[in-house]
Point group: C2
Chain length 434, copies 2
C-alpha cells in the first residue's frame, strides 16, 4: 500500500504528541513522514529528499541505514537480542565497555550502562552524591555552568540552566548552583570564569558533590563555545576541593568536536564521563556513565554494609544497542574518521567565511564538525529560526536552528558538495528571509 505525506501527517497528528514541539505550529508547518533514508539523505512519502544536516538531533555519525552497522545488528538478532544485565552479561556489553575504557581519558575504567542521556546524567549525579556518603562526607549541592543543558528528567533538568526548558518546573527542581560559563572562546574569558569558579568553591566548596560541564561546546545553550583552558583550570580547582568533575560528552563525544572526546583538547582526567547520542551511530538509545576505580571502590564492600549502587533500568546494556555501538567504533578505526574529518571541518570553515559580511550575522564559529552561524539578536517572538528551517526544508536541507543560532552538524560521511549545498541554502535563507 502506498501512502502520501498528507495522509500520514494527518494520522500522525491524530495520535502523536511530538517532543519539544508546540503542536499548533503544525497547523501551518507540515510534519514530514520519512519513508526511508540512506547516508545523509532522508526520503519522504512524496518522493522528496532532504540532507540531514543536523544528524537527526546530533546522533547520526555514519549515515542512515549504514550497511556495516545493519549487518552487525542482523547477525546479533539471530543470536541474542537482550538479556538481563544483573547477574548476567553478554559479549557486546563486555566488548563495548572494553573499547570505551581504552579510548576515553585515563582513569575512566568502569562502565555503567543506561538508555538515554538524561538517565546517564542522573546516574552520575547519584553516584557522586552516594560516593561522598559512602566516604562519610555528605555533600548535597551540585554545581553547573550557566547556560548549560544536561537533559530533561528532574535531576538532569536541575543542573541545566536554559530558561526555556527549566523555568516552568522550578518548584520541582533540586537546588543547584551555577557558575558563569566563559563568555567566548578567548583565553581571557576562560581565566575570568575560573576566578568566578574559585570564588564559589571558596564559599561552598565543601558542600558541593560534583561540578558538571559540557566540555567546550554547550549544545542546547545555542552552541556556545569556550576555551579549553577553562576545563584544565576547573579540573585543578575541583580536585583541590574534593569535588567530582562530571564531563557530559553526550553531545560532544564521538568525534563531534574534532577529537574523539572534547576533553582531550584539555588533556584532563574527569571523575565521570557521560556518553550517548553518537555512541550507537544514531541507531538506538543507549548511554553510559564512565567512572574511576576510586569511585567504584567506595561502593565495593560486603553486601550487608548496604553501600551498593542500586540504580537500574530494565534494558540496561541492551545487546542490540551495544552491537550498534561496537560497529560504530569499528568504523571509526577502519575509516580513520577523526583524521578525515579535519578536511571536512576545514571545508565547512571555508564555506562560513562569506557569512561574516552579512548584516544579520553576529558571529560565526566552528569546532570540528559543529559549525555555527549566530544571527544578531532578533526578538524571539519573530521566530527567525523557524523561517530558516522552512526555507531550507523547501530546498531539501534539514537544519533546526536554536532560536537565532543556526548550526550545521552533519553525519561524518557527508561530501564536500553536500556541505556546499547546506551552506548555500543557509546563506540564501538569511539573505532572502531576514
Amino acid at each position: 500500500m502506498e501512502f502520501s505525506n498528507k495522509e500520514l501527517m494527518q494520522k500522525d497528528i491524530n495520535y502523536i504528541w511530538h517532543p519539544c514541539t508546540q503542536m499548533k505550529d503544525h497547523e501551518q508547518i507540515p510534519i514530514i513522514p520519512i519513508k526511508n533514508a540512506k547516508g545523509v539523505y532522508l526520503y519522504d512519502f512524496d518522493g522528496n529528499k532532504y540532507i540531514d544536516a543536523i544528524s537527526s538531533w546530533w546522533v547520526n555519525i555514519f549515515g542512515h541505514s549504514n550497511e556495516y552497522i545493519n549487518n552487525k545488528i542482523k547477525d546479533q538478532l539471530d543470536l541474542l537480542e537482550h538479556v538481563i544485565l544483573a547477574g548476567f552479561t553478554h559479549k557486546p556489553a563486555i566488548d563495548l565497555a572494553e573499547k570505551l575504557v581504552k579510548i576515553t581519558p585515563d582513569g575512566l575504567n568502569k562502565v555503567f550502562y543506561a538508555d538515554n542521556g538524561s538517565s546517564a546524567v542522573e546516574i552520575a549525579l547519584k553516584m557522586s552524591y552516594h560516593y561522598h556518603l559512602n566516604v562519610n562526607d555528605k555533600r548535597t549541592l551540585f554545581l553547573s555552568l550557566s547556560n548549560s543543558y544536561h537533559g530533561e528528567t528532574i535531576g538532569a533538568l536541575s543542573v541545566g540552566d536554559v530558561e526555556l526548558y527549566k523555568k516552568t518546573y522550578k518548584p520541582l527542581l533540586l537546588k543547584c548552583i551555577q557558575t558563569p560559563v566563559p563568555k567566548d572562546q578567548t583565553l581571557q574569558s576562560a581565566n575570568d570564569a575560573l576566578l568566578s569558579l574559585e570564588n564559589i568553591l571558596k564559599k561552598d566548596g565543601s558542600s558541593i558533590s560534583a561540578f558538571i560541564v559540557e566540555p567546550l561546546v554547550q549544545g542546547a545553550g545555542g552552541m556556545h563555545m569556550y576555551h579549553e583552558e577553562y576545563l584544565r583550570g576547573a579540573r585543578e580547582l575541583t580536585k583541590k576541593y574534593g569535588i567530582h568533575l562530571i564531563v557530559d560528552e553526550i553531545m560532544t563525544g564521538f568525534g563531534r568536536t574534532g577529537k574523539m572526546f572534547a576533553c582531550e583538547y584539555a588533556k584532563i582526567e574527569p571523575d565521570f564521563m557521560t556518553l550517548s547520542k553518537g555512541l550507537t551511530g544514531g541507531y538506538l538509545p543507549l548511554s553510559v556513565v564512565m567512572t574511576t576505580d576510586n569511585v567504584y571502590n567506595a561502593f565495593y564492600c560486603d553486601y550487608n554494609e548496604f553501600k551498593a549502587f542500586l540504580h537500574s533500568h530494565s534494558y540496561t546494556g541492551n545487546t542490540l544497542a551495544c552491537t550498534a555501538a561496537i560497529a560504530t567504533l569499528e568504523i571509526f578505526e577502519k575509516e580513520n574518521t577523526i583524521e578525515k574529518n579535519v578536511e571536512l571541518s576545514r571545508h565547512m570553515k571555508k564555506n562560513m567565511a562569506r557569512f561574516d559580511n552579512l548584516k544579520n550575522v553576529k558571529n560565526c564559529r566552528i569546532l570540528g564538525m559543529i559549525a555555527v552561524i549566530e544571527l544578531t539578536e532578533i526578538d524571539v517572538k519573530k521566530r527567525v529560526g523557524l523561517k530558516i528551517y522552512e526555507y531550507a526544508l523547501s530546498r531539501g536541507v534539514l537544519v533546526r536552528p536554536l532560536g537565532n543560532t543556526i548550526y550545521v552538524m552533519p553525519p561524518f560521511i557527508i561530501t564536500k558538495d553536500e556541505i556546499d549545498t547546506i551552506f548555500d541554502t543557509i546563506y540564501n535563507a538569511i539573505v532572502e528571509k531576514l
Copy 2:
C-alpha cells in the same frame, strides 16, 4: 574464536559496573555470560542453559530471538533505522501510536514517546504539573502509594517508596506524599485504604497535581497485590479533587496480569498511562506516556504563549524500537495471547498449591502471569533470596527473588512442562536450602 564463561566473566568484571548489584558479591557468585538465546532458554559460553523465568527483568514476552520480531527489525533496518521525531515522523511511530490508542482505555488518545520507564514517569509528572500551570492552578505535590516503585531517576525515585532504593538519596528528592496501599487483596483492605486516601485528599487535595499508582501489583515492592476496587475508588476520588490519575503499567502492561492492561480489571479511565518493558517484547528500550485530549489541549496554543511541553530525548520514538513494538502487538493479535495465557496461569496456580504446606512459606498469590511465593520474614542479612537464586541457577532456572519474595514471570511462550520445571526447582530450593 571460542570463549569460556570464566574468561568472559573476568573481562566483564574488569570493565562493567552492573545495575542493582553489589559487585563484591561476584567474588563468590559467577556472572554468567550469555552467548545466545532462543524462546525461554538462555545459553552460556560453557554450554549450560537456563529457563528465563523472570523474562529478563520482566521485559520479554514472546521469547528470545523471536523469528517474527527479528524479521520485522531486519526489514526495517534496510529502510530507516531512526530519524528525529520533531518536525519529522515515520510510519512505525505512527502505526504504533494508533495501535496503542486503540487498545488502551478510552480517553487515552495521545502518545508521547521516550526511552525508558523512569523517563516516562518523569514525563507524566512534568506534564501533570505543567497542565495545572497552564490552566492557572499551581499544584506542586505528587501523591503515590506506600511501597511503590516507579523508577530510579530523581523524579521517578521521589514518587517511589521502597526504602532500599530511596533512603540514600532522600536529601535530593522532591517532596511527595504517600497514602497506604491496601494491605492485601481483600475488598475490605481496599476500602480501608480508600478511607485513608480520602482523608489525605480532604487535607491536601488542592495542592496535589497527580496520584501515581502501579495498578493491582507493586513490582519492586515485593509483588504486593491489591483489589481492583481500590483503583475504581481512587479514580473517583481523584476526579473529585481535580487530581490526575497516573497509572504506571510499565511492569503490569502487555498481558502480564492476565488482561492487556491491569487497569482493565477496574474499568477505569486514567489521565495518564506509562508503558515500557513488554512494549517492545523485550527487545529494545522504548517507553510511552499516553494521555487525554484534555491534557493535550491545555498545551495547544500559539507558540508565543509559551505553553508547549518542551521535553525531549534524542532517540524519542526510535524507529527500530517502534518496529519491535508493532511486531509484538501483532503477535498478541495473531496468537490470541491473552486468552491462551489463562490456561498457563491456571497451570502455574496448580503448581503453587503444594507450597502452602511448606513451613517457610507465608503467602502464595497469583495474578495472570505473575506467580508469587512469599517466604516468612527472615532477616534480610541472611540473603535467603540469593540462596534460592544460586540453587535454581545451578539447576538451569533463572529466578531473581526480591528479598524473601520469590516470583515467576515467564515469557508467554513457555510450556506447561517448563512451568513444572521452574516450580519443582523452587520447591526443592525451599526444602533443601531454608
